[in-house]
Amino acid sequence: MNLFADAIAWIFDSAHWGGPNGIDSRIIEHIAISLLVVGIATVIAVPIGYLIGHTGKGRGIVVALAGAVRALPTLGLLILLALNLGIGLQAPIIALVVLAVPSILAGAYAGFDAVDRRIIDAARAVGMTEMQIVFKVEIPLGLPLLMGGMRSAVLQVIATATLADYVGGGGLGSFIFLGLQTGDYSQMLAGSIVVVVLAIIFEIIFSTLQRLVVPAGVTATQSPRVRTRPVRSRTA
């Protein structure tokens, strides 16, 4: 446990805070990369997921993509992109978006798919237009599952962003790789602890969000057995 004490001491050493390589700026960098990626992936995946969920056409694509991305070794994709695009942030961002899209797509699609068909028929029967059905029925009812997909994407992205520095992308992985090169195990372990704490904080935030977005009508009328299981997949 001495190793852990050293690592904790490393984290709380004021020399390791402040400046461009400080723990604080690396945390901000890590979070910024992760949120940017999830933002881009959401803009791409949600409309497509909703389209597939609403029309019921193209389910196979969602299944195939989710399966393929689970088998895809992230590290390989990241390195391949880095060799072609050069060292820096570009390769990690593209690789991370590729990883995040399938989870969010599956969440958006599954959210629509899980809506009871009778509810949609009822909505149509009371005269809702197709757009009203999408915006007033399917989207609210599908939110918990979409949030589950986003939670899974965030988890995956925060984990994989740790690898970004292997190709010069910065983030909290920089402590791990710097420590690895200089044989400084305290620094490696310290970087690891910070990433783990960050990942767990985000997991807790998103699991809470997932519970909060269950529409009031759903919680009021029945036991809240809305599917809230996350779309899980991890490649890093």
Binding site: R59, L180, L189, I193
Partner: protein
């Protein structure tokens, strides 16, 4: 492509090292998850606890976990054991949830009939609960197998040899073919293992072979499996 034909032996070695790291955790997490999943499902109080721990465990990024495990286990930093233990923990985190879902998918009328017919708790577990939970367990095992094969590559950045070493080596020496070879073989291994598991499932659970599904229904089940 020249690189690949010139280095078949290296690729073979890395593939074997990869399987030696990845296969035991897949097996181990499956075996360990069944009693835990049963326990989680049996008592209302344990379910939340077991599943919450599994969820948090799964949220831990892999590279930091490999590093921390070296300190926790007192092993060397490049010991493949660290990766093996981490992969077992991830597999367990996924599989416990599948197992709990599998056991809760057993129709309670069926379970009660079994008890009424005089099955002991153990007898019911082996002859009723476990076989009926089988398809869900199988779906979980497929997810675990594929993601474990893919995750094994991450250890390469710490110098733990696997197919991931083809990525790090290809990066250091700027050989694209080597990286492509690593990606394709890793995905190929995952596909083959997935196929083997599906076939094993058909042998062990012959009743699932009956074609019950239209394409639409099958796709839906597949999405559910993906969501596990």
């Amino acid at each position: 492509m020249n690189w690949i034909t010139n280095n078949l032996e290296l690729i073979g070695d890395r593939t074997l090292q990869h399987l030696a790291i990845a296969l035991p955790p897949i097996l181990l997490s499956f075996v360990l998850a069944i009693p835990l999943g049963w326990l989680a499902n049996r008592f209302a109080s344990t379910r939340g606890l077991v599943l919450t721990i599994a969820g948090l465990l799964y949220a831990i990024p892999s590279l930091p976990l490999f590093i921390a495990l070296a300190a926790i286990l007192g092993t060397a930093q490049r010991d493949p054991i660290n990766v093996g233990v981490a992969l077992t923990l991830y597999g367990l985190a996924l599989m416990v949830r599948s197992a709990a879902d599998g056991f809760s998918s057993v129709d309670s009328d069926v379970a009660q009939s079994a008890t009424a017919m005089g099955f002991s708790t153990a007898g019911r577990f082996w002859k009723v609960d476990l076989p009926l939970a089988g398809p869900v367990l199988l779906a979980g095992l497929r997810v675990v197998a594929v993601s474990t094969i893919s995750l094994t590559t991450v250890g390469a950045v710490l110098g733990i040899q696997s197919l991931g070493s083809l990525f790090t080596d290809g990066f250091a020496r700027n050989i694209q073919a080597e990286i492509w070879a690593g990606i394709i073989i890793t995905m190929g291994l995952a596909l083959i293992l997935d196929f083997v598991i599906v076939q094993l499932g058909r042998v062990v659970m012959p009743w699932t072979r009956v074609a019950t599904t239209r394409a639409k229904k099958r796709d839906r089940t597949a999405v559910r499996a993906v969501l596990s």
